[in-house]
């Protein structure tokens, strides 16, 4: 995917496929992915899952960047949650079995931040979805026009290259 195509997709995403639920899905998935480390199968699977849904991609990406930047703060919480879960005696046989399964160790489930982030993300997913849905409505009512009328988008739309590319 060339840089122009990425911009096109991004702008397209900002202007189309921006139903409130789509924005909410994008932001919620982005939040989940953002708070966990990315170099593992868990993050990759979540990303594929989020892209497989009709989640708004620009908001997903923006959300990932935003929550990743908060990682130093969220890690303090997720590390503790993850450590608590991973050291639960009752779950030890289950985790040991997972640890000895093929592929599963690639998910880094035994990393405290991954486990904690996943648990925190899952537990916050539904509340955040509804919260972000409200943001979606707000965006469509007040921000969408501002974005489409912004100089940057206008510049892109006006450029002959952009037009040609969109054909």
């Amino acid at each position: 995917m060339n840089p122009l195509s990425i911009i096109r997709q991004f702008v397209k995403g900002l202007l189309k496929e921006n139903e409130p639920y789509q924005i909410a899905l994008g932001l919620s998935f982005g939040m989940m992915i953002g708070i966990i480390p990315k170099n593992n199968l868990t993050a990759q699977l979540l990303f594929i899952l989020s892209l497989s849904t009709k989640a708004n991609i620009p908001f997903l990406i923006l959300s990932i960047f935003f929550f990743s930047s908060l990682a130093p703060i969220t890690d303090v919480v997720t590390d503790k949650i993850g450590y608590y879960i991973l050291t639960l005696k009752s779950l030890e046989p289950f985790f040991t079995k997972m640890y000895n399964m093929p592929v599963i160790p690639w998910t880094d489930f035994n990393n405290t931040v991954v486990m904690g982030g996943l648990m925190l993300g899952l537990s916050l997913f539904i509340p955040s979805y509804f919260l972000f849905k409200k943001f979606g409505n707000y965006y469509n009512l007040f921000l969408k026009n501002r974005v489409s009328n912004s100089r940057f988008v206008k510049f892109l739309k006006a450029s002959w290259l952009f037009e040609w590319y969109f054909k």
Binding site: S52, D75, D79, Y83, T87, Y99, N100, T112, V114
Partner: protein, 580 residues
């Protein structure tokens, strides 16, 4: 809710990947394997079929042949079928674990219809092999050729360097000096004064009228005469002794002559060509080439052994969070072959059916700390092969012990050496015993080969004398057995090699025998020459000494006679006087 526009292209991609592996992976793997084998063995490699399965990960290789770079129309080895299955679970951790593998029909040195030569960058010969080959070539074949002149003709008798001749000159000088000294001592004029004194005292005795006084004076005079006699006798003896001393010069001359003889004879020694050099010349390059092949293979294998076997392979650094480890039921190294069963017919020439096992082959011995074990056994009629090897790389200092016994092997058309010294063995039986021990970077290996029931055709042209060459050839051609001992020791990277073969002893012995007579003859000639030189000088000194001695003796006699006569006269008169 589902974005099909995203999912469908990815599912298509997965399908394409699957189709690639289904249709194109096997040929691609086959090609890669052929190229790798060709790069390792520097000869053509062929594989008929490679079949892989991903559901139950397994590989089957059919009819693999690897050419022998040193024998264009021979394969180094070939096998009919190799089959193994990989454990799927470790594969997800990028670990290749084979519980059991089998190789059927593994044979060595099989003939091939097409040439196995390929254009490939040759592996550079290790430094120690290069050095050894240079040494073997440098060895003086020419020196052997020149051996005849070295031994006899080159011995030149330099008269000026002969100790005995020089000593004779010294004797002459010394004698001349001594002669002067003796001559001076023979001069008895110093006694004249004392004689005069005695004569004067004798006159006084005669004049004395008082008989008692006269008797007393006569007694004193007698005492003085006795003392004179005594001194005179002593001087005379001393001079005689000096004269006799000349005879002692010859004692040292005998010693010098002996030393001259020994020194010259040492130059005329029977040429000793040490057996090691001959062994090297005869069998060195062939054997070292073979060792070089195995050494190159060993170095290639070493590439797959991690530098630091103690490296912790599971330790991974994580920037975020902590890792909680759980019990790992099976931890495998990156590559592990638990056991491989191999069977086949060894070589077409020695069709020994054998079976072998290779156990615990791994690239990470620290993770799987069991020694690599290789066992092999095969027997047919009187031929037998057995090998046992244990290689432990899991400890800080890697150690290995390998024993190989390969007996009753029929070999034919072997050629060792070249040009001036060559032996052909049209047929023979060969027994080989190999023992290799390594400890860390040190190696200590001994390879003993015994050729028996052998036909041998020697070609010897190492000396300029045809007769001598023929003698050596004759002594070799009757040979029915000979042995070759190779010792390899020192550091693995640059071991030192030594060769020993009784063939070399035979050649050296033949040379020695052939030279014995000529050397004895030469020795007699040299002895004669030295004696001639000594006698020439000795006669000169002898006549000089004789002449001088008779002259001195004459002088002593006359001087002594004069003194003695005078004294006797005085003594007689004195006795006569006192009687009156």
């Amino acid at each position: 809710m589902i974005r099909w526009s995203y999912l469908i292209p990815r599912l298509v991609f997965v399908l394409i990947v699957y189709l690639f592996f289904y249709f194109a992976f096997d040929p691609l793997l086959k090609w890669t394997m052929i190229k790798s084998l060709e790069s390792v063995f520097e000869a053509k490699a062929e594989i008929k079929k490679v079949k892989t399965s991903f559901i139950n990960p397994s590989i089957e290789i059919e009819e693999l042949k690897v050419g022998n770079k040193n024998k264009e129309f021979n394969n180094l080895f070939e096998f009919k079928k190799l089959k193994f299955a990989l454990l799927s679970k470790p594969l997800f951790e990028k670990k290749f674990v084979i519980n059991e593998a089998s190789i059927k029909g593994l044979s060595f040195d099989t003939p091939r219809k097409t040439s196995c030569k390929i254009k490939i960058k040759k592996t550079e010969m290790p430094e120690f092999v290069k050095n050894y080959m240079a040494k073997a070539q440098d060895f003086a074949v020419d020196r052997l050729g020149e051996i005849k002149t070295d031994a006899i003709s080159d011995i030149k008798l330099e008269v000026a360097e002969l100790k005995s001749v020089n000593l004779l000159k010294e004797i002459e000088e010394k004698y001349n000096a001594d002669y002067k000294n003796i001559e001076e001592k023979i001069d008895f004029k110093k006694y004249d004064e004392r004689l005069k004194n005695i004569e004067k005292k004798f006159e006084d005795v005669k004049k004395e009228k008082n008989f008692i006084k006269q008797a007393k004076q006569a007694s004193e005079l007698k005492k003085e005469i006795d003392k004179f006699y005594k001194d005179f006798k002593k001087d005379k003896e001393e001079v005689s002794n000096l004269l006799n001393e000349v005879k002692d010069y010859y004692k040292s001359l005998d010693q010098a002559r002996k030393e001259d003889m020994d020194r010259i004879m040492s130059l005329a020694k029977i040429p000793k060509i040490d057996s090691e050099s001959i062994s090297r010349m005869l069998l060195g390059s062939d054997t070292v080439n073979k060792i070089n092949d195995y050494y190159s293979m060993a170095l290639e294998a070493e590439r797959y052994i991690p530098d630091n076997p103690k490296k912790k392979v599971f330790e991974e650094k994580r920037k975020r969070g902590r890792v909680v480890n759980f019990t790992k039921y099976d931890s495998y190294p990156k590559f592990l072959l638990k056991i491989a069963h191999i069977d086949g017919v060894l070589t077409p020439q020695n069709p020994i059916e054998y079976s072998a096992t290779v156990e615990n082959l791994t690239t990470q011995p620290s993770v799987y700390p069991y020694p690599l074990k290789i066992k092999l056994f095969g027997k047919k009629d009187k031929s037998e092969i057995s090998a046992n090897s244990s290689i432990d790389l899991s400890t800080d200092i890697a150690k290995s012990v390998t024993d190989l016994k390969y007996t009753g092997v029929k070999v034919s058309n072997l050629v060792y050496g070249k040009d001036k010294l060559k032996i052909e063995i049209p047929s023979s039986y060969l027994d080989t015993f190999v023992n290799i021990k390594t400890l860390g970077s040190d190696v200590d290996a001994e390879i003993k080969s015994v050729f028996r029931d052998m036909e041998l055709k020697p070609y010897v042209a190492i000396t300029k004398l045809d007769k001598l060459n023929k003698t050596i050839e004759n002594s070799l051609s009757g040979l029915k057995t000979f042995s070759l001992d190779i010792k390899l020791s020192g550091k693995l990277k640059s071991p030192s090699l030594s060769f020993k073969t009784d063939l070399a002893d035979i050649i050296s012995g033949s040379l020695e025998n052939a030279f014995k007579k000529e050397i004895e003859k030469a020795k007699a000639e040299i002895r004669e020459k030295i004696d001639l030189e000594i006698n020439k000088n000795k006669q000169k000194i002898d006549s000089l000494i004789k002449a001088k001695q008779s002259e001195l003796k004459e002088k002593i006699k006359s001087e002594s006679d004069t003194v003695t006569k005078k004294l006797e006269e005085i003594q007689k008169s004195l006795e006569k006087q006192i009687k009156f």
